[in-house]
Each structure stands twice: as structure tokens, then as C-alpha cells.
Amino acid sequence: MQEVNAAQRVVARKQSSEMGRRIWKNKWIYVMLLPGVLYFLVFKYIPMYGLIISFQNYKPFKGISGSEWVGFEHFQRLFTEPDFLNILSNTLILFGMNLLFYFPVPILLALMLNEVKGDLFKKTFQTIVYLPHFMSWVIIVSISFVMLTMDGGIINDIIEYFGFEKINFLLAPEWFRPTYILQVIWREAGWGTIIYLAAIASIDPGLYEAARMDGAGRIRQMWHITLPAIRSVIIVLLILKIGDVLELGFEHVYLLLNSMNRNVAEIIDTYVYTAGLKQGQFSYSAAIGLFKSFIGLALVMIVNRIAKKMGEEGVY
């Protein structure tokens, strides 16, 4: 018995010294890793401790250790809120529209830009399409307001000129979602192309040459070479995008939100703002935030698994 133990100890020691040696051998690589690990520890993991407040009635003066525990009360309040289902479905619908209408646009743009020859034109065009990304949502929404308003907005003036009835873009609930998604595309599409263009640039030109030799036209080349080559990038970006499932841009939606379109425009983020932060209800806000993160995590895991089943790499 004792002998066995001793033998085990020897093996264990050997293993650990083996590992120690390996680490020692590559010590500088580990040292280089350190700042990254520390960064995540200090700025990403330690702050998670703050999530505790979603199970408390957090009082800043008393701190986390002194605040009263309330269990799942805040979650209960959220789930029993009369508008909860409405807000959740608004969030998911906007997210779905994002995937359906916005997500393919940068891919299409990248494919199209890739076909453009002349470098000057390509560069100029690329700059033009990604510039809106640097404008804040306030600016994007104000520009839209000026264009869409019924009191002298250019779009309504055009509609009226052609003899149609003016459209109440800003207030009508049915126009909220189209306005939202068009603004997202307007601002982000060009920016989104950057990664795809980079992926396309790394494709071996020999493949295209070979395809041309075989008589493949441009569309064929696009379909059989470019798209498969960037497929993994598309999947990774899709999974990452899904991770942000409920990050629809608080500022953007909040700026578009008004009394008339609230029943389609109120999303979790805006709700956190009006019901939580604006009233200083930190615990309630934290609870909603936690709930949101759970949905995001669950969706990423599902999609990642699907991606793997399809033979792709996934993100982890």
C-alpha cells in the first residue's frame, strides 16, 4: 500500500516537474501571456463579482457586503412585468431583422468591391461606404429626421410631388423597423466589409487563374472560389454577432423611440434605461443585464454547436 502511494507520488512529482520544465523552457512566452491574462482577470472577471447586486437590494453606501439579500425578486419583477413579453419579442424581432437584412450586406458589398478593377476607384468607394461608421447615432438619426419629417422633409416632399399621401415615417409603428434597419445598414455596412475584404485578399490567386483556364466566368468564380474561401470567416462573424444578440444599440433605438411607436420599439436596453438606471434601481438593472447575457450565451452555444456539426471551426 505504502509502496503504491510512494510510486504514485513519484509519478506525480515527475509529471509536475515535467510540466515545470516545459513551462520553464518557454518561460518568455508565458511572460508575454501574462499581461493578457491579468487584463482579463482585472477588467473582465473581477468586475463580474458585481453581478451579485442583482440578487440584492443594492445600496451604494452599504456596499455589496452590507446590502440586503432578496434572492430572485428582481427577476420575478422582470418576468411579471406586463410589457415583458412585448419587450422581449421586440428585441428578438429587431435582432432577427439584423441577421436577415443587415448581415448579408457587408458580404455582398465585399464581393462587389472585389470585382471592381481600378484601385483608385475601389479605395475611394470603400472609404465612402465606411465613413458613416464614424458618425454618431445622434447624427444619423437627426439626418434621417430632417429627411423624413412631414414638415418639409425632402422625402415626404418628393412623395407629395408625385401625388401620393405623405407618410408619417417617424411616428407610425409600422415604419419603425424599416427605418431602424436602413439606418443600421447605412452606418455599418461599409465598415463590416473590411474583414471580408481582408479574407478575400488572402485567397490564392492561382485558384482564380485555374478557374479562368477552365472557362469559369466571374459569377462562377465568385460562387465556387470566393464564397467558399470566406465561409469560415462568415460563420465566425455570424456566431460573434449572435453573441451580441441583444446589443441592438441602445442609443440608436432610444433616439427613434417615441410615444407612438413604443409598442414595437421598446427593447430590453431602453427598458433598462427608463425602468432601471434613470431611477437609480441598480439591482433591477443588473438583473435585466444578467438575463440578457444568459440569452446571448445560450444562443452562441447553440449556433457554435450547429457550426461544428456542419464541419466548421466555430469560435471555441
Binding site: 429626421f145 410615444s259 434601481q281
Partner: protein, 509 residues
């Protein structure tokens, strides 16, 4: 040997990172309590300047140069650290700073709404009660007791206030248009309607096109035009007495009458059609670009509106007006609670009453005419001149850049601090100053301003959205009276009934 060399910096890094983390965490839960780093001025002689840190909202585009701070420090024997944050995002900044327990010694809120949100934290005992101390300060004890009462929490005073005109609401309109169409200032809400209709339909700008509207409004039922007009119609201020009981304003028939009035304005195109989605900037733009003939709100805005308007329409003449009688023939003016902002003193940053007194002593000096003039007008001959015992700004833009942030952080009122009154830049400004005093006679006060309701604390703003949405929908015609009543029932069932109960319980006391 070698091993040691590496492990030393490594362990230092590790330890320090944990120390950092511990600090961050400590700061979150009990700020400064554990570290105990507080200035202790009493150790040295009394003429050593008191160090004070102040957090305040900034309503200008950039932080001011420190010329005014230097002057204030000299006059009050202090060492001031002002932390200015843009007013647009101030509430967020305030909430996050508060949540991490890192508020400075002097914390400005933003407005009445922010103050109401802070009340539960105040009740928790996180801020100093200053009421009993004020009597020791000759200038601070001059603060108006009615306004102080409006800022009390459970009958105790925790804040100093920055005074604002109580009854400044009124009408700013295009006098050149009215003259051209032969219209007199409206005496009743009927006249007001007629004026808006004429401004819309009778081509007041004389360009032969129907491109003008009567009134410009925005997505704000309180600080936009709605509440001012509602008060003219006889709606109480937030809450009113009905059958001896406090009831919210929207349960009064006059509220529905006001909605009907706005519905008529909207249906007739006398108001900008998208008002429920219009921001304040866009609303003012409609006035200053010559599209709209009326702006209802704070009459004191007339000089800035006028300035932008004559840039676009050099021939424009603006005027102000108040005293519009409602259908009952009575005058009324919506009254603000007398404060625009308040100052709180967090216990987390100020440990002892002796320190608190030093800070209060600073504010006491701020209310002497000499210091108040620096905070309001700047440095004499550099920022303003004195003519007939009144201050005249030398350069509006320079004043805005250098002095305005401190004006917004000054406490008290014109009459309590004894500072100079200003010389109006245009005649309408002078008239607005007179009207806001004349309005006082008809001021309608908010009866619950000094009362508290726990449910309102928690759900008030969220519930208010229900009514705000219903009001807008009624005006836009998507719901009718029955739909509006349903919204009231909804409001009641989601906590409104409890709010009514709670207010009435404390009101009777």
C-alpha cells in the same frame, strides 16, 4: 539564481494586480471608509485654504478656463476642484459614480427629476442633513423657506438649491406676423387658436406659399408647450384636489379639454405634425428658421431664440406674452418648484461635521453679493460692466465660455444673494422679466412637490410613460376617450392606485 530573477517581478506584478483589484472593489463597497484618505484641514491654522471637490453638470460645449475658479478661490480661501460633466449624459455619470461610492464632497444633481430619483438614497442616510446647521451661516439662512420646503425629504433638509424663476412660462411669438395680420396678443385660449390658425393659413411671411405653421412643439409633455397650455386650461400642476382628495392631473376633465385642443391643432396642421418625435433642437429650429410663429415655454429663452431667428429672417420681431385665460376665464401660470438644481453632500466623501461646516462656509460666502457676482457675471470689466447698478455682459460668447458653468452651479436666487440683476439685451427680454414676476400672482404650485410616495419612487417615471403615450395617442387620434380611460385604469392597476393612496396619506398629515 536565474529563477529568482524572473519570479520577483512576476510576483510583484501579481501582488500589485490583486492589490489593484482589492482597491477597486474596496472603492465600490465602502469608499474612503477603509482607506480613510480625507483632507484634515483642522490640523493646521485656519487660514489654510479648504480643499473642496465639486461635481457639476456642464451646459456649455467645453470646460471653462480656470480664471473664475482662481477668483473664487481667492475670495473664499479655498482650493477648488471642479469636475464638470456634459449635462446630456450627466444622470448616467451621476448614477455610475454613485453606484461605485465615489461621489465627491459636493455633488450637484441635474434637475427636479434627478432629485426625485435620488430621494431613496437620501433616505438611506447616505448624505448629510444640513437643515439644522443653516442657522449658523448668515447668508445660507437667507435661502427661501418655501423653496427649501419643496426640497425637503421626509421633512428634513439635505440640499442647497439653485433658484429658478417660479413662473417663467409663457408665449414667445412673431410680433411682425401678428402686426401684419392685425392680431392682438391672445387674451384667451380661443384667441390663441385663432392666432395659430392665422399664422398657418394667412401667409404671414408674405411669400405667397402656405409654408408656415402656428406653433412649434416637441416630444415633451412637461417642458414642451403642453403643460403650460394645460395650466391655462385649468389643469392642476401634477396633482390637484378633487372631492377633498389628491388626484393626478390627467384625471381632471380640463386635461381632456387640453388634449382636445391639441388634437384640433394637429388635425388642422397648426402645429408641426411630427411633434411627438421632435427634439428640442428641431423644435427651436422651426421657430428660428421662420417656419413657426409661436413657441410656448420659458419666456426667458426669448433672447437666444431671437438671436438665431434674425440671422435667418432679419426683419423678424419677437415679443413675449403670458396671461392667457382658459375657457373658465381665469388666469393661471404653471409654477416650477423654485429650484432648478440642488447640491448634496455625500457622507462617503466628508467624514465629520466639522468638515461639512467648512464646505458650507464656502457656500455661505458664495451667497455674498461680491462672490455671487463673480459666479454669475464673471470678472468686472473683463466679462461685464455695471450700468445703473445692473450688470451688462461685454461679450456673450466669452461669458458663456468662461462664466456660464459657474452660473449654473451658483446657489440661491437673485434676491437672496444680492447679486446684480442683468440688463436685457432686447426689449422682449425685459418684458419677459416683468411678466415672470406678474405671473407669480397666478402661479399654480405642485401640491406633492414636498411629499413622497414609495411607489412613485420606484415606478413613477415608468408609469408616467403610460400616460404620456396615451396623451400623445389621443392627440394623434389613434385612441379615443375610452382608450384614454383604459390607459388610466392601466396606470392605476400597475401601481397608480397605490401612488394616489400614499400621497393622500401623507397629504392629510
Amino acid at each position: 539564481m536565474k529563477r529568482k530573477l524572473v519570479s520577483i517581478p512576476l510576483s510583484v506584478l501579481l501582488v500589485s494586480s490583486f492589490a489593484l483589484a482589492a482597491c477597486a472593489d474596496g472603492g465600490k463597497s465602502t469608499p474612503a471608509a477603509t482607506t480613510g484618505v480625507v483632507e484634515s484641514p483642522k490640523a493646521t491654522a485656519d487660514n489654510k485654504p479648504t480643499a473642496i471637490t465639486i461635481m457639476a453638470p456642464l451646459n456649455t460645449a467645453q470646460t471653462p478656463p480656470d480664471t473664475i475658479i482662481k477668483e473664487l478661490e481667492k475670495l473664499t480661501n479655498t482650493k477648488l476642484t471642479y469636475q464638470f460633466f456634459p449635462a446630456d449624459t450627466y444622470e448616467e455619470k451621476l448614477n455610475t459614480t454613485f453606484a461605485t461610492g465615489a461621489l465627491p464632497q459636493v455633488t450637484y444633481l441635474k434637475n427636479q427629476a434627478t432629485f426625485i430619483q435620488m430621494k431613496s438614497a437620501i433616505r438611506d442616510g447616505q448624505f448629510w442633513e444640513i437643515g439644522p446647521l443653516l442657522k449658523d451661516f448668515p447668508n445660507l439662512s437667507k435661502l427661501k423657506s418655501t423653496t427649501n420646503d419643496n426640497t425637503k425629504v421626509d421633512g428634513k433638509l439635505y440640499t442647497l438649491y439653485r433658484g429658478v424663476d417660479i413662473a417663467r412660462q409663457g408665449l414667445i411669438y412673431r410680433k411682425d406676423w401678428a402686426d401684419k395680420l392685425g392680431l392682438k396678443p391672445p387674451a384667451t385660449t380661443e384667441d390663441l387658436y385663432a392666432m395659430m390658425k392665422a399664422f398657418t393659413e394667412n401667409d404671414p411671411d408674405g411669400n405667397g406659399k402656405k409654408d408656415t405653421i402656428g406653433l412649434t412643439d416637441r416630444n415633451d409633455l412637461i417642458y414642451g408647450s403642453f403643460k403650460t397650455v394645460a395650466t391655462w386650461f385649468g389643469v392642476p400642476n401634477n396633482w390637484g384636489l378633487k372631492d377633498g382628495k389628491l388626484q393626478p392631473e390627467f384625471m381632471f376633465p380640463e386635461y381632456v379639454a387640453t388634449m382636445d385642443y391639441y388634437k384640433k391643432l394637429r388635425d388642422g396642421g397648426l402645429i408641426n405634425k411630427d411633434f411627438a418625435a421632435t427634439s428640442k433642437t428641431d423644435q427651436q429650429k422651426l421657430f428660428t428658421n421662420g417656419t413657426a410663429g409661436m413657441y410656448i415655454g420659458a419666456m426667458t429663452d426669448v433672447s437666444s431664440l431671437n438671436k438665431d431667428l434674425i440671422k435667418n429672417v432679419p426683419t423678424a420681431v419677437v415679443d413675449v406674452h403670458s396671461m392667457v385665460a382658459g375657457p373658465g376665464g381665469k388666469f393661471a401660470a404653471w409654477a416650477l418648484p423654485g429650484y432648478a438644481n440642488v447640491v448634496l453632500f455625500p457622507k462617503s466623501a466628508t467624514k465629520t461635521e466639522a468638515e461639512l461646516k467648512k464646505i458650507l462656509a464656502y457656500f455661505d460666502k458664495m451667497m455674498t453679493p461680491e462672490v455671487a457676482n463673480v459666479a454669475n457675471w464673471g470678472i468686472k470689466d473683463a466679462n461685464y460692466n455695471v450700468i445703473d447698478n445692473k450688470a451688462k455682459k461685454l461679450d456673450e460668447e466669452k461669458w458663456t465660455r468662461e462664466v456660464k458653468p459657474f452660473t449654473d452651479a451658483a446657489i440661491g436666487d437673485e434676491d437672496t444673494s444680492g447679486r446684480y440683476l442683468g440688463i436685457p439685451t432686447i426689449p422682449a427680454q425685459g418684458k419677459a422679466d416683468e411678466l415672470k414676476i406678474a405671473n407669480l400672482k397666478f402661479a399654480v404650485q405642485d401640491p406633492v412637490a414636498a411629499l413622497d410616495s414609495k411607489t412613485n419612487q420606484e415606478k413613477g417615471p415608468q408609469l408616467q410613460e403610460v400616460i404620456k403615450d396615451a396623451t400623445n395617442k389621443y392627440i394623434y387620434g389613434t385612441i379615443d376617450k375610452a382608450g384614454f380611460d383604459k390607459a388610466i385604469e392601466d396606470w392605476k392597476s400597475r401601481g397608480g392606485s397605490k401612488i394616489i393612496e400614499e400621497y393622500n396619506a401623507v397629504y392629510k398629515k
